[in-house]
Point group: C2
């Protein structure tokens, strides 16, 4: 969201895309595969790691692999004045995977993961009890149609002007 975010360039993108196959390939392989000098790839990787352009590695874990096969969106309305309290509360709930503030009537849209519908109910209950949250509405995710990806976008960028 911040416009001062580190911007990936073509080389970064190529490295990242190549890393998709195996995030732990030796730098040397990467380098020769991409036709770059080893030092270049090495410093790029270091820069990338500190750039803030990447989510933590654990963000790759699919909730289902943690026995959380049931996902849902919980939309919450809240007492605007207590926004920060609410956020702090949400942050404490492990089942809250993500939370965004969309334009429109829902103040917060919260992504949660649960073991089963029962557990989902428990989690939404917990959300409802966060300070400042006045109303919630839960909608279960029936199917993960397209799992989160950036590959297509990355490739598009690389195709634009080489």
């Amino acid at each position: 969201m911040n416009s001062d975010t580190y911007q990936l360039d073509e080389t970064d993108r190529r490295i990242l895309l190549a890393l998709d196959a195996d995030p732990r390939v030796p730098i040397m392989m990467l380098a020769q595969q991409l036709g770059l000098a080893r030092g270049t790839v090495q410093s790029r990787l270091e820069r990338l790691a500190n750039s803030g352009a990447l989510r933590p590695n654990t963000a790759r874990i699919l909730p289902a692999a943690m026995g959380r096969g049931v996902s849902a969106f919980v939309s919450a309305e809240l007492d605007q004045a207590r926004l920060n309290e609410a956020i702090a509360g949400l942050r404490q709930i492990p089942e809250v995977l993500e939370c965004v503030a969309p334009a429109g009537d829902t103040d917060l849209l919260i992504r949660v993961a649960a073991t089963d519908p029962d557990d989902l109910y428990r989690v939404s209950e917990e959300i409802r009890l966060c300070p400042g949250i006045t109303r919630t509405s839960t909608s279960m995710i029936l199917r993960d149609v397209i799992p989160f990806r950036t590959t297509e976008l990355l490739r598009k960028l690389s195709g634009e002007k080489h």
Copy 2:
């Protein structure tokens, strides 16, 4: 979603958590840091990579780092009979980062990324034009309150019974 998903065990979780600090630490460091034999960590990592429990590495990239600072949810209603066509269409749009089917009146909830509001309009237009999609409604994300994470959940699992 699938219950036949590979289930992480305590060791997997510890490895993944440790990998958060630096996804490319040498296996030896990991091993001694976790008090495991090198071979164990080595085979675990290999298994994890093939388990299907992880998203591709590029899923870590923040859209903002690709110049896509504007995100939104597009909810779409559709001609149910043409669901698969619609999905195929969506898959072709690079700006479509994710798509889920929630219970309720919206048939598909689509996460998109754009360079600016104008671009967002273009993308939502493109979605509207997918075969089978009858109506869409776009809601811009004003703030990324809690970026996607699984850390808390992972830690909770590790705390439950050691």
